[in-house]
Structure formats: structure tokens, C-alpha cells
Amino acid sequence: MSFGAGVTPFVPLLLAFAAMPSIAEENFSFPEAQAVLKTYCSNCHAGKTAVAGFDLEKFGTMESILEAPRKWNRALLRVRDGEMPPKGAPAPPMEQREKFVAWIEHSLRTAACADGISAGPAPIRRLNRNEYSATMRDLLNIHFNAGQGLPADGAGGEGFDNAAETLFLSPIHAEKYLEAAKQALDYGAKDPRSRARFFIAEPNENMSPEQAARKIIEKFLPRAFRRPVSLEDVERHLELFRAAQTRGETFNDSVLFALQGILISPHFLFRLEEPNPSPEPRLVSGYALATRLAYFLWGSMPDDVLFDLAAQGKLREPETLTGQVVRMLKDAKAREFAESFVEQWLGTRELGRDIKPDAKLFPEYYDAEIRSAMRYEPILFFQEILAQNHSLLNLLDSKFTISNNKLQRHYGLEVGKLRQQPVRVELPEGSHRGGLLGMAAVLAVSSYPQRTSPVLRGKWVLEAILGTPPPPPPPNVPELEEAHGGAVPKTLRERLMQHRENPTCAACHNRIDPLGFGLENYDVLGRWRTEDGGKPIDSKGELPDGTMFEGPKELKAVLLERKDLFIRNLTAKMFGYALGRGLTMEDYCTVEQVVGQLEKNEYSAHTLIQEIVLSVPFRYQAGMARPTSEEKAP
């Protein structure tokens, strides 16, 4: 069987564009937007001498704007980030700026969806460090972290380290791969459990060493390359065995030498899919789909069940696919997924790295058991939601969490039976816990080492939960907190209030700070407190739209009212993680579709994963790229 054979070319149905709920309720009309452009932009961006060749006179109609999506996307980012209009030039007030940005974004995405959902790019990528370790573990059945010597990977796109665009290779990688393969194989060859996985033949009177080696390689190679292999592939790797035999190596060492060659091959280290030569998109092969699925939900290679379904051609059937999602989410390997996704989404991976609570003020953090329970609470909580198919709104507020005795005590909750391992705990009334916002890891990662910060926590809620990060502060203004001047105010709240009297600061901080104040009852390590430094905690907040709340319980209710923002943000993050790349404008059509399904299905966790797996970008390969009209233009 050849790789990718038997694929029926299939053009995805043109999906009617579902009306996209806009973030800014009152959207601009085209004339309103034009007025903004005329007032603030056309001084520089008009006519033959238009700066950067961005000539607004060429964009007199909506159609002309939609025909140049890339240009306008760039414009949108520059206006959103406050780079345009440039410093010193008159700029629109914050509210008008946001409406304008929402208008461009909405218009571009709407237009992108009108053509139906496209598959989008699926660039080849190497396995990241975690994927490499997990793949070696499953391939060789070893319990040893083969990738520990590799450098960590940076993140791109939606903020994950599985993004193709930022998986670079440095000379150090080649060296480490060579070494890690040797180390892992040596380790595996000595451990009987592991050895049985790949040393499936030994030479005897009926089998020559080469015949035995061939058997081993024939079994090993397709699993390593995650696809069927040709006779030629086997032959090529058998040559390494022969070379080792010629120089007098034992059968054992010769086989290991050949296997080492396989483990540094680009076919193993990279996720490769047979390129689609046709101009039309097509379903990926069963093996490629098994691989996409396995790295999404397990961060590792497919298992035998997935390989078998791929071989039988069944994996591409939607019912099989959704059934496999459920099976995979219940498997222990879903931990890799939960850990990788949650820690990068919430930023808790930095806890213990760049973000460390002060050792003198918070010695409790340096208790290994507490630290580990803190770190794993959001991960295990998310894994539980996935495995049990709970509502994703549990992430905002829930009646349970996953903790152990020490963490329970840390939270001031009653402790039941003696246990070190974290387990599911039903939360009593008035526990001040439930949902991500009551978790120590989240509260610590949004604090300074010495003290809590309403600004950092507010910013964290806007970014991680609502997906509406505030724009960066204007250049050369002090960092978020504690602007001085005039009489020195006493409390942090007073200082922040004064800060917000400055209209430039107020535009964003009116949105940021109140959310953080709602969490002031939690200290740096997430413990409940009613006073700080002898002063009672004031956890009242008022959002720019006049919504008032006090304390985390009411704050969570406020966030639940904005669940559409949360769900859209979570969906986009998950989709970016699943695809391993940054989302394109077209991808937001899929995001909206998935959000629609979630609304209809009580926000069930399985719906999120299944709808993503069934989506066009996840299952299809784009056709050979043809330049768009915009790219063709000089």
C-alpha cells in the first residue's frame, strides 16, 4: 500500500456563512468608518505620495477593501496596537478606535467566510520536545524521558509550542537527536519489557541474522514513520544493519544501529504528509489523519487501534472519528494534551520558571507537594472535564476541583481521608473555590513575587479568559502600576484610582483593574484572606459598562454572563493548538461554527473537540497554492 493512495478528491461543501456575532455591539457603518479614515489617516495615506503605498483613495468602496484583505489586516493590527496614527498625530478616542478595529475585522472575516471554509496551510513540522519524548516512549515502550536533553521550543501562532512556524532547528538539535536515539535504544534493549516491543526476532537455525533484522525493521519502520513503508524503505535501513555486521558488530548492536538510523530520519522527526498535487483541497489519508489526531489529543504517535482503523480506511468516517475522540480523551495519554494545552493557555508553565513566589514571604510554595498539587490542579481539572464530557463553563465556575490533602488545607477546606495523590473533590457551599479563578496556580502566575496585583490579574482575565487583551501601554509611560504625583496616596486602590484619572491610562485600566480587584481576596498563593496588612480587603469592582460586583463569586457570575467571549476564545485557542499553527482569517469561520455547535450542546467538552476534529481544516489538505489576486498585484 502506498502512502496516500486511494484518497478520493473531495471538495468541501460551501458552507453558508453563519452570522458572526460582533464583539462591538454597535458596529460601524461604512460611511462612519470612512469618516474615521478621512479624519485620522488620509493626511498621510492618500494619493500618489501615500505613505507605504497605502492609498486610501483606492479604497472608496467596501468591495475594494475586501479585495485586499492582507493590507487591511495589517492596517487593523497597527491601529489596534496603537502604532497608527503615529505618535504626535491626532488619534481617535479609545472607543472609536475599538469600533473601527471591530469593523475591519468583522468585515474581513465575513468576506473570508463567504467563499466557504478552506483547509488552510498544514506545514510540515518537527516533533517538539514533548512530542519527541512521548513518541519515543510509545514507540520503544520505555519509561525514560528521551527528549530531556533537547532545548525547549518557543511558541507561535495562538501561543503554543507545537506551532509549525516557530519549530526551528539549530545545530544542537542534530547532535541531540543522534545521542538521544542511541541512549533510548540502549536503554530499551536492556529492559525486557521494552525489548519485547521491538526485538521481535532473533537469528536461529531457520533464520539468518539478516532475515531476523529484516523482520524487526519491517515491523518497526511503519510505526516509526507513522505510515506504510515501501520495500525500498526497508532495504535502505537494512543496509545500515549490513554495514554494522560487516565491521563485525554483534546482531544486537547491528540492529540497534539500523534503528538509530530510523530515529534520526526526517520521516520520524518530522510530521510529514504526502503533498496534495491537485489545485483542489482533499481529505488527508487515513494515516495522516491518525497522526493529526494522535498529536492533538495525546501529543504522541498513533496507537495500534488508530493504525488499524487507518489501514481499514475507516478513520475518515465521521462516526469513527468522533468515537475515537471519546476513547482517546479517556485514555491516560490525554494528560499530555491537557498539560500542554492548559499550561500554555493559562501561562502557568512559567510558574517556577520566570515567575516564582518570593521564598522568604511564601515559603509554603517551596513545599514540593504543595507546588506540584498547585501546578497540576488546572491540568487535572481540565482533563476531568474532557474525560467526563462536562460543560466547559465549569472552567469559569464549578462545584468540584482536583486537589490533594495539602492543597485542601492550603485552601482552608476540610480534609477527608489521608491522601497525597490529587483526586476529585466536591466543593462545599462557600468554599471560595470552583473554576480556574479559584486556583492557586492561576492566582500565583498573575501576581508579583511579593504581592498580588489587581492590574496583572485583570490583564490575565482579559487575555486568558475573555480573549480580549488590552493594547500595550503607550510608549514611555510607566508600567501598569503606581503612578505618582501630587499627594502620595496610601493604598494600592487609591494609587490605581489616581492612575485612572489620567484619561490615557483610564481608557484601558477602567477595564483591567476592576477585574483584578474582584480577586483581591486571594493572596499570592491563592489563599483566602479578608485583610491585607491590617486593612480589610476591598474586592469591589465596576466595569466600564456600569456592571458592579464584589468578590470572586460575583465576578464569576459577571464572566458567565459574557460566556460567549470566553467560549469563542477557548475555541480559537483549542483550534490553533489542534492545527499547530496560527489561525488565519478564514479559520475564524470554523471557530464560529464550532461556537454555534457548543451553544446548541450545552458547551459540552466533547462537542468542542469533536467539532474541531470534524472541521475542514483538521481533516483536509489545501490544494497547491495559487497566488491570490492581491499577491499577484505588484
Partner: protein
């Protein structure tokens, strides 16, 4: 197509030969022309410092800038007094050059940190992106040197750090944090991964220093197989994917190349004076920041002393590092938070203590190199160790008047022992030009350079 950010001088200079392999390992197609020029250059000749010893180059990068009023020495030329922050260099005063008024124009704007980190040694403006079109639009100064001289040592260069690459992308400002975690770029789209575990660094140095011809040959056989696989594979791929496979091809080639040289030790031009002893092996990543830093600096010294590499970059922390410095007497807080002092006297005091601590570590490395005898002098005499930050005042994020010190005598080429004050906004790229010259890999131009930096070279 972007223009190369540097051009190679045609003068009568000694430079290593460049093979086809090195060329492939080097930067992308944008650099093809300068490389071809270099290939046609003079025959191999070891770059020599005093007493035939090679010149080494290191760059130590510090995040978050400095307290601007406590950095600049008073006085000029040879007659100057070190500032409070630079005071730990007192016993090394004759071995350092303090450089005032250099700036990095290309890193103005963008945002506060990431642009100023990736652009520190490239003097270019990075492309604003969350990842998809990541590009530093240049090659870092150390890599320009490494690509031309690297074949003379087991490692062309060594990239070291303390913190792993920062997690995530910064949606707030619209940049991937990859930019904040790298100062060494071997090509516009190739940031070099750093080793942060001192034990692993040691093991690499150790192995590279004691090649075993047999295992090197076997490894080369494996690598040849990989190269075949990759070469076959690339023909079936589209352009973007092909670039990724080429990246793999080039890193595998560079390893093969190294093994090949290692298996013929008699080819090495300069015999290291000091072999690497196994007793110097660190245990792993220590919990204490200060200890971790010291161990990494030890590795730089050892790598230079044993001539395992001649080029090294080191990052004390990633951009925006909020490393907690409460371990210092009188400091309570994170590095980045304190760098936003808002002229608050107490914060400024703490910020300065953190700056000074970094200078102490720098001094530690310089002293260590000074204590390593080499010929008539020391390893420090044959080294150039640049210390600095990509911004001046952490509260203002401005790349004017960058805090920069160059230590060592670069094999007698550097006129150490001075405070050199330049005209305001003299390009830092001029310093890169001078350092590349002293290293033996001169360029006519580097990014926005306007020439070499007067007074630096003897």
C-alpha cells in the same frame, strides 16, 4: 528579497576557507552573494592573537536596561573613574573599554523588549509577528564571525542561557516571545537554541574535545543516510516545506562536518593548551540563580581555554525577565518590575543593585579568563567579552546610549583601559564592525554601520 545586512571586506585579510558545506549551513539565500565572495578568498590561515593563540569572542546579554545615572563613568579616555554600577570592575579597569553614546537605531520603536533583544547583535528591525513570518532580517554579529571561522574549533559557536525560551506569544504587543529569548541568529529565520543546563554544556564540550575516530565514523554513516533521506524528500515538497527540510539538512551537515574534522585531529590548526578535565563537571541546574549563572560562565571560560569554541553568547535572562532578585541584600522584587522604577528612589536603588550584580558576574568571568595563562599572557588577553543590554533605562525602553562594556584585549587588537565617549547616537553596529575586525573576520559594513568605532582598535 531583503538586502544582506552586512558585506564582507575584500581587503587582504586572513580568513578561514569556506566550503560548500559551510555555505549550506549558513544563512538563507539572501546571503548567497557575500558567501560566494568569501569562498573565493585567501587560503586557510589561523586567525591569530598574541603568541599564536586564537582570538575569542563572547557576548553577555542582560535584560531590562540599567539605572541611567549610575552607569556612566566620569572622565574620558584613560583618565576615568568607574561609576557605582561598574565599580566591581575596579581591578579590571585596564582590561575594559566602557563605551558611551552608542545606539541601536533599528530597534527603536516596535515595543519595549523583544525587538531590542533579537536586534541586539543584528542591528536590524525584526518583523512584527506572533510567529508565522518570524524574521530578524539579518544575521547576528557573532554568527557572522562563526560562519567564517567556525571550522577551526569543534563548535563554531556556543549559545547559552539561564531561562528556557519564554512560554507563549505576547498578544499584548503582538510579538512571539521567541524574539525575546534569542540574541544569536545564524540567518534571518534561524534563531539559535540555547543550552541552559551546565552539566549538558560540559558533556558536550567534553565529548567534542575527545573525539573517538571509530564512533565518529559510524555516526557519519548514519548522518549520510539522513542526508540521503532528506534530499529525496525535499524534491517532493512545496517551497515552504522544503525550507524546513533544508534546515534539517544543514544542521545534519554541520554535525557531519564537525565529526569529520574531529576524526582527523591532526587537521586542527591550533592545539589547545589545556585539555578538559572531567573533574570540572557540574551536577545539573542549581536552584540558586547566582550559582546557575556562575556555572554557565565557568563553561564559557572552559570552552575558551580548551579552544572547543571561540565564540559564545550568553543571556542572563530572557527579555522582560522578572527574575526575583530578593537573594541580594536590600532587594525585594523581580527584575522587570523594579526596572520600571518611575523615578522612585527606593526602586532605583534596588534596580541599580541588580545591575551591579550583573557587572559582578561579568567581572567574575573576566577574572577567570585573566587567571587562565596562555603563552605570555592570559586567555583574557586573547578575548573580547562584550557585556550590555538592548536598552538604556528600563523605565523608558530607549535604545539610545546603550550600556556597553567590552572586556579583554582581543589578542592585542583592543585598546583596553579607556572610557570612550562618542558623538550622540553613534551606531552600535560600528562596534560590531570593530569586533569582527579584531576577531579576524572583518566586514566593510554591518547593518547601519558608518565605519569602525574609533579608538577601539590598537
Amino acid at each position: 528579497m531583503t538586502k544582506p545586512s552586512f558585506s564582507i571586506s575584500r581587503g587582504p585579510i586572513s580568513r578561514g576557507p569556506i566550503s560548500r558545506r559551510t555555505m549550506l549551513r549558513g544563512a538563507g539565500a539572501t546571503l548567497a552573494l557575500p558567501w560566494l565572495e568569501a569562498m573565493a578568498a585567501a587560503p586557510a590561515k589561523t586567525v591569530s592573537g598574541q603568541s599564536g593563540s586564537p582570538v575569542r569572542m563572547a557576548v553577555l546579554y542582560m535584560a531590562n536596561g540599567v539605572h541611567p545615572d549610575k552607569w556612566t563613568p566620569t572622565g574620558q579616555g584613560r583618565d576615568f573613574q568607574l561609576s557605582p554600577t561598574l565599580e566591581p570592575l575596579q581591578d579590571l579597569k585596564d582590561d575594559v573599554l566602557v563605551l558611551t553614546n552608542l545606539w541601536n537605531q533599528a530597534t527603536k520603536g516596535g515595543e519595549g523588549h523583544y525587538v531590542k533583544t533579537s536586534g541586539f547583535l543584528t542591528s536590524t528591525t525584526v518583523t512584527k509577528t506572533l510567529g508565522v513570518d518570524i524574521n530578524c532580517n539579518g544575521v547576528s554579529m557573532d554568527q557572522v564571525a562563526a560562519q567564517r571561522s567556525g571550522k577551526q574549533t569543534p563548535f563554531a559557536s556556543l549559545e547559552l542561557g539561564i531561562a528556557p525560551v519564554s512560554t507563549g506569544v505576547d498578544k499584548n504587543v503582538g510579538y512571539t516571545r521567541v524574539y525575546g529569548s534569542h540574541i544569536a541568529w545564524s540567518g534571518p529565520t534561524s534563531p539559535l537554541a540555547r543550552e541552559i543546563n551546565p552539566r549538558l554544556v560540559f558533556e558536550r564540550l567534553f565529548r567534542a574535545g575527545r573525539p573517538q575516530a571509530d564512533s565518529a565514523k559510524q555516526d557519519m554513516l548514519l548522518l549520510d543516510r539522513v542526508l540521503d533521506d532528506a534530499a529525496q524528500l525535499r524534491q517532493r515538497l512545496g517551497a515552504a516545506d522544503r525550507a524546513r527540510v533544508d534546515e534539517y539538512l544543514s544542521v545534519v551537515r554541520s554535525l557531519e562536518d564537525r565529526l569529520e574534522r574531529a576524526s582527523r585531529p591532526e587537521q586542527s590548526a591550533w592545539q589547545p593548551r589545556v585539555p578538559l578535565g572531567a573533574e570540572a563537571k557540574p551536577a545539573g541546574i542549581p536552584r540558586e540563580h547566582a550559582e546557575h549563572v556562575r556555572l554557565m560562565l565557568d563553561m564559557i571560560a572552559v570552552a575558551f581555554q580548551t579552544d572547543t569554541t571561540r565564540i559564545c553568547t550568553f543571556m542572563f535572562g530572557n527579555a522582560v525577565s522578572n527574575q526575583n532578585f530578593s537573594f541580594l541584600e536590600g532587594v525585594k522584587g523581580g527584575h522587570h518590575s523594579l526596572s520600571h522604577h518611575q523615578k522612585d528612589q527606593d526602586k532605583l536603588r534596588q534596580y541599580q543593585l541588580i545591575n551591579r550584580w550583573h557587572v559582578e558576574q561579568y567581572a567574575y568571568l573576566l577574572r577567570k579568563l585573566r587567571n587562565m595563562k596562555e603563552g605570555e599572557g592570559s586567555v583574557l588577553d586573547n578575548s573580547m567579552v562584550l557585556f550590555g543590554s538592548g536598552l538604556r533605562d528600563g523605565d523608558r525602553h530607549s535604545p539610545h546610549n546603550l550600556p556597553l562594556v567590552l572586556g579583554g584585549r582581543g589578542g592585542g587588537r583592543i585598546a583596553a583601559g579607556q572610557h570612550l565617549v562618542y558623538a550622540e547616537d553613534t551606531p552600535m553596529a560600528n562596534l560590531h564592525v570593530s569586533m569582527l575586525d579584531a576577531f579576524g573576520t572583518p566586514v566593510e559594513r554591518f547593518a547601519d554601520s558608518t565605519g569602525s568605532l574609533t579608538g577601539v582598535l590598537v
